[in-house]
């Protein structure tokens, strides 16, 4: 019996760090039936025996190499699970704005200047580039495809950029362009999941969840992790992209609508007054607290926190997401149109959220999958529109953050989920009506700006056809390790015990903080 009690107390003290409350333990025991007890007791004996067998296997990598304790203690106050926690060491960035171009924009039309590819435009692709590769649509021997738009060098740093981003070009000396990104996924959903959760399968916490779990969020009247979507579609990876996986669900991303009410049903229905609403919430919380005292399930706390936040959000969320509060000149600089759901509007909202102390702001813009299968999905038409939709807003966002000094501690990340092939897509082995490129996990371009990254840098190198990385490869997990480093974390120590593993954003393969891109 005493074993069971101490086990329950240990469980409880995990939930309520620093507290041991014997009376709670007894209350929990009372809630246990004889059958529960017997079942857990037999399981416990078996587990103890198995534990002795498995002990030599249970050593973690850190323990085996003798590197000391492997986890930093993230214990949020259960009454305010989103409260601010200090990072492991002094951070370079305090918040993140991640601009995900869903569908994977072509690096060969934007940042990767490859004159050799242009020279061989229309030639048969050498067999060596095709051997052992899997493609989504390429068949037979495709033709090489040169850049569709002219490139030039820009800024003091002299970085190459195409003519598709004339506004962004003004900020080229502030960008840290990584040309050697690499992934191992060549379909959109798993590749997006890999970029956003560190794992191509569903069920893992997203980047934003990890960050808010580790740091909490400053503004207690807004969610710490907000997601905004444009381009007419949810990204292929679905809502799992801002899911919380095995972390408590209070850390999951909150998708806000970019026009109308930002979050539906925040305001009480007509004829329900605010004090009435408050009384309902108070009663609900009391019941939930009792429930938590009985069972100690952290998800109960999540529920309490969410009721409370939705109440506080009534004012602040509406204000924060309302771009009508901005002067006309600002809206014009972003290219906003009131009342529509656009990337431009979302960029302006992102700035307003960053100013208000939201920790992680995630924008998705859909429609970059330029296969050439239709006008919308082509490099000569749809791609041009996509570029136009994002170019001015991103430039305005960077300018706004810069003029307010926020770029110093805000990390901006722009990128897709993989790259596009150096070959023209030939779906069905035929010359397609529109020009496009297939998926290429072997190389893609991503840029960062702001908090702690080296401005005006072009990092990494691909081969002369822009097909594979030849120098300084940056895996997705390296990017994650670098982002966490900028936010003040050792990616190995920000972990969470689940399924017998110390689960990390960067996974089990060794990840590297790309020190070369740090300012």
């Amino acid at each position: 019996m005493s074993d069971a009690i101490s086990r329950i107390l240990a469980e409880l003290s995990k939930v309520l760090p620093g507290e041991t409350q014997p009376e709670r333990g007894f209350a929990l025991l009372e809630a246990q039936t004889r059958r529960h007890f017997l079942r857990s007791a037999t399981g416990g004996l078996g587990a103890m025996f198995l534990g002795t067998l498995a002990a030599p296997l249970a050593l973690s990598a850190e323990q085996a190499t003798g590197e000391g304790p492997a986890r930093i203690d993230i214990s949020h106050d259960p009454r305010s699970p989103l409260g601010v926690l200090p990072p492991q060491f002094a951070p370079r960035a305090k918040r993140v704005i991640y601009l995900h171009m869903a569908g994977a924009p072509s690096q060969l039309e934007l940042f990767e200047h490859k004159p050799e590819l242009t020279r061989f435009d229309g030639q048969d692709c050498p067999a060596s580039l095709l051997a052992g590769k899997r493609f989504a649509f390429l068949t037979g021997v495709p033709k090489l495809l040169g850049a569709q738009y002219p490139f030039h060098q820009a800024g003091q740093s002299g970085q190459w950029i195409s003519d598709r981003f004339p506004h962004l070009e003004r900020h080229i000396d502030g960008l840290c362009v990584i040309r050697s990104m690499r992934t191992d996924q060549f379909n959109h959903a798993p590749a997006q999941l890999l970029v956003q959760t560190g794992n191509p399968r569903i069920g893992y916490p997203s980047l934003g969840s990890w960050v808010v779990y580790g740091l909490g969020t400053e503004n207690q009247n807004l969610p710490g992790f907000i997601v905004l979507i444009s381009g007419g579609n949810t990204p292929d990876g679905g809502k799992q992209l801002w899911g919380t996986g095995f972390l408590p669900s209070v850390y999951q991303g909150v998708q806000c609508r970019s026009h109308g009410e930002p979050v539906l049903y925040l305001n009480p229905p007509p004829r329900v007054s605010a004090p009435e609403r408050r009384r309902v919430l108070d009663a609900t919380e009391e019941i939930n607290q009792q429930r938590f005292a009985e069972f100690g399930n952290p998800e109960t706390l999540t529920r309490i926190a969410q009721y409370e936040m939705s109440f506080r959000m009534q004012m602040d969320a509406t204000d924060a997401l309302d771009i009508r509060k901005e002067p006309d000149s600002v809206r014009t600089s972003y290219g906003c149109k009131l009342g529509e759901s656009s990337f431009a509007n979302n960029c302006l909202v992102a700035r307003r959220l960053a100013e208000r102390g939201v920790r992680f702001i995630q924008l998705y813009h859909w429609g970059w999958d330029s296969h050439g299968a239709s006008a919308r999905e082509s490099l000569n038409l749809g791609f041009v529109d996509r570029c136009r939709e994002v170019d001015q807003p991103i430039a305005a966002l960077l300018a706004d953050l810069k003029s307010r000094g926020l770029l110093e501690d805000t990390l901006i990340v722009w990128g897709g989920e993989f790259g596009r092939t150096s070959m023209r897509e030939n779906r069905g082995g035929q010359v397609m009506k529109f020009v496009g490129r297939d998926h290429n996990p072997g190389a893609f371009t991503l840029w960062m700006a702001g908090g702690g990254v080296k401005p005006g840098l072009a990092f990494g190198q691909t081969d002369e056809l822009g097909y594979e990385v030849v120098k300084d490869p940056v895996e997705v997990r390296d990017l994650h390790a670098t982002m966490l480093y900028l936010l003040g974390f050792d990616h190995r120590k920000l972990n969470y015990p689940f399924q017998g593993l110390e689960q990390k954003l960067t996974g089990v393969k060794p990840a590297r903080v790309v020190a070369e891109v740090l300012a």
């Binding site: 000391g68 926690l85 200090p86 990072p87 060491f89 002094a90 503004n219 003029s403 110093e408």
Partner: protein, 488 residues
Amino acid sequence: MNTSLHSPLQRYRFAVVPVLLLLLVTALLLLAPPDGIERGPLLQFVGRFHPLAVHFPIALLFIVPLFEILGRKRNAAFLLPVNFLLMLAAGGAILSAVLGWCLARGGGYSGALIRQHMWGGLLVATASLVCWWLRSRGEAAAPSRPYLALLLLAIVLISFTGYKGGQVAHGETHLTEFLPPPLERWLGPPTPLTSISAVGEGPSTFYGARIQPLFEGHCVTCHGQSKHKAGLRLDSYAGLMRGGKHGPVIKPGDSKSSELFRRITLPQSDDDFMPKDNKKLLSASEVKLIERWIAEGASRTLSAETLAALPGNAPSQDAAAVTFPDIDPAAVVRERTEVAPILSRVQLRLPNIVEYESRTSADLMVNASWRGSKFGDDELAELAALSPSIVTADFSGTAITDRSARVIAAMRKLRLLRLAHTAITDSTIEGLGTLDQLESLSVFDTRVTESSLSVLTRLTNLRRVYAGGSKIPHDVAVPVQVREKLVF
């Protein structure tokens, strides 16, 4: 007549079987000695029972003198089973010898240790058989001198053989490894059974200094001078390069196709994995060392410095690698002694406004901007006691006024200060002359004018002044070193 003629044979007819078996084992040991080559699984399966079987004759042989003494001193009843015990001991010893041969011949054992253990075992079996014969002939009450001498010899032999067996199974130093130091001094320094470092393998070469010690530490118990399983000896460079019964184990320049490297990098559950049978494992860095050495040609004479200097081994990323500072909780607590009680008091009043900059620091970060108009001069005044520890402060969009100037000016360690969208004026800025750590200042969208710039020129660490939307004109006439810090 007949009976008298046949009586000795009849009397010892049970002994014929063990004697024949003993002769058979002797013949096997002579004709088919263990040669380091692994053979049929059946032979090995049977052989694996050898360690199990040997304990019976050991125990039985040791109990015989005990019973002989007890029987004489205490109670004659102890003498009754001695004959039977000796018979069992002799039988067990012979069986063990047969099983031992199976194990050694089948399991790929060879070397001096095995030979000593093997012949020792055979002698034990012979001695115990003869003991039994002598004992069953003589009078139980008065044992003959030869019998007693032989029994003593059998005891000595079985101790020796058992010790050698232990060395075969658990390593040559299995008894002396954890010898208490006084005892060790008394016994004298251990004489190493294996001496490896020959010429050219001294510590000046990479092989001698780094590789050979790994083999000595992890491999030579089974692949050494006294025991060379699979015909492989790793106690010398020559043995290593000669390889084993399956051929060479090292392919210079190609670690991936080297059998030795393949086996040490297999999953631990694999049958081929080395080191086998719960022997001490190689660490990841040791494996890496072996991989590098093979990749660079597995040379015997290559010096340690040359290998380190070879291209591809230079730690290319080291220069750019980041280090993660260790957290020393005690030191952090010490540093925070003064600030901690004040901070927890302030945090109760102003939750999520002020927090430590990091887990390793006693410095504080303040962000009040999210409170908007709910944060004013009165709230800011509550931070006064913490002022000396605050390194970044964001009051953008709050209701603070020039009344807070004194509290802000007391934040001597401030590196970053944001006052955007507030009602502060030049009088606050003019008080900032003492903040010599200040690097970044935002007066975006305030009524601050260029007259406050003069005080900022004194701040040598200042890098950026965000002046957009303030009353500072874009073309303000100031010295160029101030001008280039202004961001609009």
